[in-house]
């Protein structure tokens, strides 16, 4: 990196640290259990890539407190994106792994950041191809606003008002070696 770039480097600000993330997830897990009144018919689905580790942690917290395993699945929404054909550049396909039926299940869909809502629209369409769930709830670590579709989250770790030109990045130990949420000027 040249010194010019170093000087011009975006200013990054930590808006959530490891403890904050841990507390949010614990709260979300208990809110889910409270609303659902237990683990009956509950399944947790994480959206590739950012939602997968979060979903896994939430599932573990629920399983631990209820002493009963909650089914956990991974969903890649690439094939459902609404911008897939507008560019020749193709996003790398991720793995989808939902090895159980979704019929009449109560799905908790988990993602890291809720922004325009387009990813969640794609995810809901994808889930419908796996079966007919009883309901879908959305859990996100960060809601940064700027919705383009009529979608809202049911469980939110932190509401983070942001500008469009800012970038919100969720770093997790599983992929990045550290738990933190940072906001940087784009």
């Amino acid at each position: 990196m040249s010194s010019e770039e170093g000087n011009a480097m975006k200013t990054a600000k930590t808006v959530m640290d490891a403890d904050g993330i841990e507390r949010s997830l614990t709260r979300i897990a208990s809110e889910i259990l409270e609303e659902n009144k237990g683990v009956q018919d509950l399944v947790i689905i994480g959206i590739q890539k950012g939602g997968v580790s979060l979903a896994k942690r939430i599932a573990q917290k629920i399983s631990k407190s209820e002493k009963s395993a909650v089914p956990f699945g991974i969903l890649d929404i690439t094939l459902y994106r609404d911008d897939i054909l507008t560019s020749n550049k193709k996003p790398k396909l991720g793995i989808t792994d939902i090895s159980f039926s979704l019929d009449n299940k109560k799905i908790i869909l988990v993602d890291d950041v809720l922004f325009t809502g387009r990813t969640i629209r794609a995810a809901m369409d994808a889930l419908m191809d796996f079966g007919r769930p009883k309901l879908i709830r959305l859990a996100v670590l960060i809601d940064r606003g700027h919705r383009e579709l009529p979608i809202r989250a049911d469980f939110v770790g932190k509401n983070l008002p942001s500008s469009l030109w800012e970038e919100v990045a969720v770093h997790l130990t599983e992929s990045d070696g550290v738990d933190e949420v940072i906001i940087e000027e784009g």
């Binding site: 094939l79 560019s87 193709k90 793995i95 369409d125 191809d129």
Partner: protein, 307 residues
């Protein structure tokens, strides 16, 4: 990641990185075919024409299913051609197809180079589904995908390709692909079926089955066309089967975990013994399953907007 090309004409035109990209994408697509609703909306509104100027059931069906699982509109056009009696020329057909504004044209043709000609004539993406004895890139890709999934890698594997190398597009595309990916390829068949100078493609040549399959990780059998005996490419099906049929005796010379492949349709008892074709070492049906995924991957990677 993206493919650097408009068309998939042959393995010859692909790089190692592009092959890995295609195989990785195909592996992700395998899951779609296991869903209750085996369809994703990705290519909604795209039109794929399967233009088959040579009879084919399995490849055409595979492409058709691949297109449909991606929500593309697939249209099958069959035509027959011969050097003597021809209807419309390929040039005229190409212009007609182009005017209908499809997005991708899949072509199978008995004449080597016909997909290349089509690619020069029309602006749409062309996928070669087999041209004469030249190339069959989607078959080689699905074969490489199958091997990679079973063995974890292609590099360093001993692959024996047995049969009519001279007339086989499957052999050509696999030789090009497997050698590029670092496998050690041996081709084997009656001397009349080993094409001239084939060693220049970095393969070992053997005329003896026992020699060719020795220590093989993969044995790839080719379909023999029985009418070739009329042109003295082999004396009889009896003699062919005696020396080049994969059976429970000669397969013992290969590695204990050897796997057997065949592009199908198979001539039971001539190029492959029934117990081998149906046995635990056979990957024949996995090849078919993977074929749909590879073709989905190619349609996905080729279809797209203008940048």
């Amino acid at each position: 990641m993206k493919l650097s090309k408009k068309d998939i004409l042959g393995i010859k035109e692909l790089s190692q990185d592009e092959i890995h990209l295609i195989l990785d994408t195909a592996e992700s697509f395998l899951e779609v075919s296991t869903r209750k609703i085996k369809k994703v909306p990705t290519l909604r509104g795209k039109t794929v024409i399967n233009f088959f100027v040579e009879a084919s059931t399995r490849t055409r069906t595979s492409f058709e299913i691949a297109g449909k699982r991606l929500s593309a509109d697939t249209v099958n056009i069959s035509a027959s051609t011969s050097s003597l009696v021809k209807g419309e020329t390929l040039t005229d057909t190409a212009k007609t197809l182009e005017a209908m504004n499809p997005d991708i044209i899949v072509i199978r043709h008995s004449a080597a180079g016909a997909p290349h000609m089509l690619a020069r004539l029309v602006r749409q993406s062309i996928i070669n589904a087999g041209d004469g004895a030249h190339e069959h890139p989607t078959q080689a890709l699905l074969d490489m995908m199958t091997i990679r999934m079973e063995k974890g890698t292609l590099r360093g594997l001993n692959v024996a390709i047995i049969g009519d190398i001279a007339h086989s597009r499957v052999a050509r595309s696999n030789i090009l692909g497997l050698t590029m990916m670092g496998a050690n390829v041996t081709v084997c068949g009656p001397a009349m079926m080993i094409p001239r100078d084939v060693v220049k493609l970095s393969v070992r040549v053997s005329y003896h089955m026992e020699q060719a399959v020795k220590d093989a990780d993969i044995i790839m059998m080719l379909r023999i066309q029985l009418e070739r005996q009329n042109d003295n490419f082999f004396p009889s099906d009896r003699e062919y089967a005696r020396y080049y049929c994969l059976n429970s005796n000669n397969i013992r010379l290969a590695k204990p975990d050897v796997l057997v492949m065949h592009p199908g349709p198979i001539n039971r008892g001539i190029e492959i013994a029934p117990d081998i074709a149906d046995g635990a070492q056979s990957l024949i049906l996995k090849q078919v399953t993977n074929g749909v995924a590879v073709r989905m991957a190619l349609l996905y990677l080729l279809a797209g907007g203008e940048e």
